[in-house]
């Protein structure tokens, strides 16, 4: 609440100043998510819901494929992709098919989107074609919220602009639990206490970083953001509790149990000038740095990795690397998320 001085008219300074509090109009509460099956942001999930997803991921992974196939048998799921993707698209597709669902892929380069169809119309069209859930990857932050509002279908955010990538944060969490904890099926607010997770690189443009920094501190982890000022503005630390900024990579590395390396997103730099040689000198994860400062830390990367840029080939392929485990966990987590989308009250079942 602010206090202002009233009646201090510079043109007519006769009245005495009166301090008074300002009570501004309130901000209306959010209506999102409209559909209980949606996963738009990691913030929509309670710790219970996260535990449920984790335990379903394990159960579905271990289930007989023929039994699993019946869970969403012949249900229709649309994958709507406005950006290229290898891991996310394939794992969502494999996850959906593992549960017996029919999937269809609509990508911006081979559809009416090229002809100028809006996201709303594409969404309504997919719904009319019988899609019961839409998995959306979009280059614009916030697009999944628009799609959910206009279709009221379960919408799964597979990455929106520079905003969020909630399934990536969940699969990262599962990977961290596998490496550092006994149980990978339940979480509580102290599950990751004492664990420092450093996210390194292009934080500004990273939806993976945003989802992780909003999720991991809720489980007790300390998240350290590390990168040069143009890629990591000071205000990033204000996004939520449990987030700190450390500009010095080696100092951050020295206290980390997990280090997540990010790709420089050339497609989002928007005129930002960055000296890549300087960047590598400051922030590249090399075998030398890893051995000297964090010999037992888990090395993660959401992919795609650029070998020789944010990390060396040796580190990517080394024993500390969990990069391919992350990919594997993607299928398990996405099975659980897709199942949830179609079996919560938003779905038909």
């Amino acid at each position: 609440m602010a206090t202002v001085i009233a009646n201090e008219d510079p043109m007519n300074a006769t009245a005495a100043p009166v301090r008074r509090p300002i009570h501004p109009p309130p901000v209306a509460p959010s209506h999102f998510p409209y559909n209980a099956g949606s996963l738009l942001s990691v913030q929509d999930l309670t710790l219970e819901a996260i535990s449920h997803l984790l335990s379903r991921a394990t159960a579905l992974e271990e289930m007989d494929p023929l039994a699993r196939d019946r869970i969403l048998l012949k249900r229709r799921i649309a994958l709507l992709f406005y950006e290229s993707s290898t891991r996310t698209r394939t794992s969502f597709e494999l996850a959906s098919k593992s549960l017996g669902a029919d999937t269809t892929l609509v990508s911006s380069l081979s559809s009416s989107i090229e002809k100028g169809e809006t996201l709303k119309d594409t969404g309504l069209t997919l719904r009319a074609l019988g899609a019961e859930a839409i998995i959306l990857r979009h280059n614009s932050s916030g697009a999944p919220w628009l799609l959910e509002e206009v279709t009221r279908l379960p919408v799964l955010n597979a990455g929106d602009g520079m905003h969020e990538h909630p399934t990536q944060a969940l699969l990262d969490l599962r990977t961290i639990l596998q490496r550092l904890r006994h149980s990978i099926d339940t979480v509580a607010e102290d599950t990751l206490s004492g664990v420092t997770i450093t996210i390194v690189g292009d934080i500004l443009h990273s939806r993976v970083a945003r989802s992780n920094m909003l999720l991991l501190p809720r489980l007790g982890a300390q998240v350290v953001l590390c990168g040069p000022l143009p890629l990591l503005p000071e205000l990033a630390a204000g996004v939520g509790p449990g987030i700190a900024i450390e500009r010095d990579f080696e100092s951050a590395l020295g206290r980390s149990q997990v280090v997540m390396m990010l790709r420089i997103q050339a497609e989002r730099l928007a005129g930002l000038q960055l000296d890549l040689e300087e960047y590598k000198a400051g922030y590249q994860l090399t075998g030398q740095r890893l051995a000297a400062l964090a010999p037992s830390a888990v090395v993660m990367h959401p992919g795609p990795i650029i070998r020789g840029m944010e990390l060396t080939a040796g580190v990517a392929d080394g024993v500390q690397s969990a990069i391919l485990e992350q990919v594997r966990n993607g299928v398990a987590i996405r099975m659980a998320v897709v199942e949830r989308a179609l079996t919560m009250n938003g779905g038909r079942a």
Binding site: P10, M11, I22, V27, T118, L119, L146, G161, H163, R210
Partner: protein, 439 residues
């Protein structure tokens, strides 16, 4: 034209210093008599409007609206925009030149003023400062003025080049026109869709730094002071940052002719109202931080702000129902301005009613030199708003007279219900269920 007598109302005319029960007689488009209740001498045969319990004030003046004609009649027309204005109590609106084509010619200015446009109230076109509002070649201000333009601006497209802005200020001053600047250093706002800050970072949106506004305001003030010409008048449109208001405040202390306006959304809302990508909270300048919003309130209360202006910017539903970054900037505002000002500036923050009305009529009219507007002295234009100052009501965007419904104020409680809006002696709007009484 029939004479119109407004009886038993409480007249508030800030410019004339009147705040008392008065009857008022309108004839041939002008105010012809003001007298105590029941004391009008020449009201015989006049149609009578009974304003018992109501406030009678000069018709409101909005110096910043986008009527979208010519060129974008699907968003708004001069007819629909002025109908919305009349419903909001406005009798004069100044129309920004970012039409298609840009209003940079006497022909377009005259086209906007033609009777075929069916305006409900008086429209005052503002001419483009530069050809096509491209910020390069200055237009013929004398010709624009004689066609009816009341100021010049490249609203929406700031004049960035120092030399062009300096020449615009000087040339406009020579013909007695004000220069209105949309203060945004667009070199700092490329690809941005909201205010820079923690909220933008969290939402993954590129943010416009407050310095993009204040930096250009400071540059413009420097140019005004360098010109050393008392006729030069810079008006800062839709001020939204504490730093920009501070710069205007300082310029005024230094005796420069620099004025500013604030839009209701900038003294009521903050970037928090963007919520989860609500495109009805997307405008330029963007909704700012709470500190900036509080600075707008402070500047209004302490008299630095010269006018409340809506920046009424209608857009079709399909244009706003897109990804946040792709949505056009702007919200409608003509129907909600008075009700928001009364509900918040007056009721909540205790700004006297007369000062609220002055910010909505006398001051903006004086600022653009609209003679005979914004006051109800004998001989002035018969531009009147009669409203119930106590009535609370809920605004419904679905009921708007505008062609567009892009407002963040749908469902908000407003205070002050317009009963009649009278434009040059003609009733331009009647509030719900009310009719005039024939004698």
């Amino acid at each position: 034209m029939t004479a119109l007598a407004i009886r038993n109302g409480h007249l508030i005319d800030p410019a004339a210093g009147i705040d008392a029960p008065k009857d008022i007689l309108l004839k041939d488009g002008k105010v012809v008599e003001i007298a105590g209740p029941g004391k009008l001498k020449s009201a015989n045969g006049a149609e009578v409007l009974d304003a018992t319990g109501l406030t009678v004030a000069p018709g409101l003046v909005d110096i910043h609206v986008h009527l979208r004609e010519p060129g974008q009649g699907y968003k708004e027309t001069i007819a629909t925009g002025t109908a919305a204005a009349a419903a909001g109590g406005f009798t004069s609106v100044a129309a920004m030149p970012n039409t298609i084509p840009v209003n940079d010619s006497p022909e377009t200015t005259r086209w906007m003023l033609a009777p075929e446009r069916n305006a409900s109230i008086r429209v005052f076109p503002i001419g483009a400062a530069t050809r096509g509002s491209k910020g390069e070649a200055i237009n013929d201000f004398a010709a624009l003025k004689s066609a009816g333009a009341v100021a010049v601006t490249d609203d929406g497209h700031p004049i960035l080049k120092d030399g062009v802005m300096r020449e615009t200020l000087a040339a406009a001053a020579r013909v007695g026109l004000s220069v209105i600047q949309h203060a945004e250093d667009t070199r700092l706002t490329k690809g941005c869709s909201m205010n820079a800050g923690p909220m933008a970072f969290k939402l993954g949106l590129r943010g416009m730094p407050p310095e993009a506004e204040s930096g250009l305001v400071e540059r413009d003030i420097r140019l005004v002071s360098e010109l050393r010409d008392a006729r030069v008048h810079l008006h800062v449109a839709h001020t939204s940052t504490a730093a920009a208001v501070a710069a205007v405040r300082q310029a005024r202390r230094n005796g420069l002719r620099v004025t500013c306006e604030v839009a209701p959304h900038h003294f009521l809302l903050t970037e928090e109202h963007v919520g989860l990508y609500s495109t009805h909270a997307k405008m330029n300048p963007p909704l700012r931080s709470a500190a900036d919003r509080d600075a707008m309130i402070e500047a209004i209360l302490d008299g630095v702000v010269d006018a409340i202006a809506t920046d009424h910017a209608p857009h079709a539903t399909h244009e706003k129902e897109v990804e946040f970054e792709n949505a056009p900037n702007g919200i409608t505002g003509l129907e909600t301005a008075l009700g928001l000002c009364l509900r918040w500036l007056h009721k909540e923050w205790k700004l006297p009613l007369g000062r609220v009305l002055s910010l909505l009529s006398a001051q903006p009219a004086a600022l653009l030199g609209l003679k005979g507007r914004g006051t109800l002295t004998v001989g002035s234009f018969a531009d009147v708003v009669v409203f119930d100052p106590k009535a609370e009501w809920t605004y419904r965007a679905a009921d708007t007279r505008s062609k567009s419904r892009n407002t963040p104020f749908d469902g908000w409680t407003l205070q002050g219900k317009v009963r009649w809006t009278i434009s040059e002696g003609r009733i331009a709007h009647r509030g719900n269920g009310q009719s005039s009484i024939k004698p």
